[in-house]
Symmetry: C2
Subunit: 428 residues, 2 copies
């Protein structure tokens, strides 16, 4: 088929007719599929069930250093869990605090604490007239929700396959002391699946912020989430790069096993410099007597070490890969060369990012919903839920079964075509 833009009005109208008929047929099927969130599938969750046997009533519940995990205390986590989480992000265990069941609350707490108490002694953000965060976009809607919740002004930074537009980041960070942070998903970024290049990471580490309390919120959510054994992306360790660049305190890194063990019953950690960790611990010690150390011990008992995690992730990949490939195949087969959409082909992570023609995303998502397939809301990948081009759609292939995935993608490409045809006709 030729590119839609090269079609005559008559050709487009013919397409429209055909597509509407096809849409009517799919609608009849009364699909009910949810592709809105990056949720692990049941098959992946089943793979983690050994975790439920990792500890039992005759297990020793002590850490290697003799602490009883069943009792109070050890606010920064058990040593062996520190090691495990550190290995996930190639850092040292002394850089790590292991917290609760997921990393999102750690990030929330970090922002909340900065609002009420500032960053390592600096003025609390709630006392400042204006606090701004840089938001590489498309990005993760739950990051943006946190900054929006705290009334922090969000500035969109364009994404490239190498990471955020670093020239713009450098300019804004160095000239504006109101810029206090930036949200990053540096590996297999949400939703594009891009991994920041070595140059990008080094430019991050070398930032010269106007604000002494500027911090990089480095959400390494997909640190071990490769889809292919032979073409995994590699991300530089930001903590050691920052140290080398003389900016040891500039980054908070987050990691979790939410998409390794169980979503919501994993363990999560923050990694940072000693000065930052001390500051965090001071407030954590008021907030909690300790996180769930038994669940930390359970994870160590099950995975043993980073090799155990990597092996599990390859089993996950065997389930995820065919779904990603199925989506990509349908996109290529049905939309390739039509000039009405572009999409990413990630080596890992949980998403494929789709860019429709400008002004079409909302309509495509609405059409899919009309026929029973729920996608992430259009705009969700941008600050304030507003995609300036109304173009980006996040595709989350993880949760549905392969059959559901095929059905959903067929519908998706149909809706993309239909909405694009309508758009082109409108402008004639």
């Amino acid at each position: 088929m030729k590119p839609f833009r090269e079609m005559t009005k008559a050709e487009l109208l013919e397409q429209k007719d055909e597509l509407e008929r096809a849409f009517g047929v799919v609608k009849e099927k009364k699909l009910s599929l949810d592709m809105s969130r990056g949720k692990p599938s049941v098959a992946q969750l089943e793979m983690g069930m050994g975790l439920m046997d990792a500890l039992n009533s005759s297990s020793s519940m002590k850490t290697a250093t003799g602490t009883d995990t069943r009792n109070y205390g050890l606010v920064d986590g058990i040593p062996e869990a520190k090691q495990l989480m550190a290995d996930m992000i190639q850092t040292k265990p002394e850089n790590v605090i292991v917290c609760g069941n997921a990393s999102l609350p750690i990030m929330f707490d970090m922002v909340s604490r900065s609002m009420t108490h500032g960053v390592v002694g600096a003025t609390p953000w709630c006392k400042l007239e204006k606090v701004k965060f840089l938001c590489p976009a498309p990005g993760y809607d739950r990051h943006f929700a946190i900054t929006q919740y705290f009334g922090i002004e969000m500035i969109t930074i364009p994404m490239t396959p190498q990471g955020p537009d670093m020239a713009l980041v450098e300019e804004l960070v160095s000239k504006d002391a109101a810029v206090k942070g930036i949200w990053c998903v540096p590996k297999y970024s949400n939703p594009q699946g891009y991994t920041y290049s070595d140059e990008t990471v080094r430019r991050f580490a070398a930032l010269k912020p106007a604000a002494e309390d500027f911090r990089i919120f480095w959400d390494n959510a997909y640190a071990v989430h490769d889809l292919y054994e032979d073409r995994a992306d590699h991300l530089l360790d930001i903590l050691s790069e920052c140290e080398k660049a003389g900016n040891p305190d500039m980054v908070y890194e987050f990691v979790s096993t939410s998409k390794v063990s169980f979503a919501g019953s994993g363990i999560a950690a923050v990694a940072s410099s000693r000065a930052n960790l001390e500051w965090i611990k001071k407030s954590m010690s008021v907030q909690t007597i300790g996180y769930d150390k038994i669940n930390q011990l359970r994870h160590v008992a099950y995975f043993k070490d980073i090799q155990g995690i990597r092996a599990q992730m390859m089993r996950h990949a065997n389930i995820l890969r065919p779904k990603f490939e199925a989506v990509l195949r349908v996109l290529e087969d049905e939309l390739g060369g039509l000039g009405i959409g572009e999409w990413t082909k990630p080596n890992g992570g949980y998403f494929i990012s789709f860019d429709a023609m400008e002004g079409c995303a909302k309509e495509i998502v609405a059409k899919c919903k009309e026929a029973g397939v729920v996608l992430t809301g259009a705009g969700a990948t941008f600050p304030y839920g507003k995609d300036p081009k109304d173009s980006n759609i996040r595709i989350a292939p993880s949760f549905p079964t392969p059959e559901e995935m095929a059905q959903a993608t067929d519908l998706f490409v149909l809706c993309v075509k239909l909405v694009s045809v309508n758009k082109l006709l409108e402008s004639m």
Copy 2:
């Protein structure tokens, strides 16, 4: 022995000599005991080990309503855990949000949220010139640490065996709009073990606060922690009393299984009115995708229902009771009638509260430490860690073994006598 105050100087000097000799002997033993915190003992923790088998790799991981606990979602907790937690405090499951591993972080978050976002639409506390909390004291040091951390002014309210001095509470709450909250441990209070009388609860429910965003922080930490089957204290349900009194939104109630299952790996909940819960959920949904639902399911699978919890608590009581009784016996035998100390005789909870002669508590705690027994720091039970009378000491009999408890109490009474003798001699 006659009361110390009635002794002549010569008699006191003779006592002093004898006590110092005895102290020297105990010091030689090089004890190393920690009675500083209300920690469950190893024997209690062993009783909960069945919890580790409650779920295994062949368990159904679904809730009664079909939600997969292993995946994301259900921010307010699984229905069966709501029921369990509701039954612990005699309320309805729809009044409950089940959260993470302990109740302290829920309380911290509640204060933190009020600072940054206010209470159900009212002005955020961080925007106010002054925020005050009433602090019945002696009370729980970790409560006071939260309010201190947020710069909230704490006003000490005297405790009575029926609960806080309600005339003073009523006066301050109704006349001062800066008073936004009060910390309460209404059943087996920390450290005195007092349970608020029905009249006290009803006067709480009938408060007429000057501030619309005044809230009672009702930490029902010892809701099911009776020591005796036949003389358990009874606490009125504050939520229904508030409703009856036309103040449905005035209270947040907290409950957890930290001292039922495992300290730090339990489940915890907040109970409140529909309006409060909606407000809380709005912010919770930004903070987390959900708490650890598997641990919620594990608790339900193990305890089944409130009867299961009550049965476990009676087994705990069988361990705790002899320790409480041993402490009380030594106190009575050694200090009874001497007029140098008073103490509580609780029917439940985790503590015995001891009041030494004015100006003696710090010295007693220091003396105990000198001989190897660590008590909760003197003053810890008061706001800002300052006991105006330097008199209150919290005794936590739960963690040590009965033998250790006996040794520790023998030392304690010795130190009380010695410090009191010195005090009386000083004033001669």
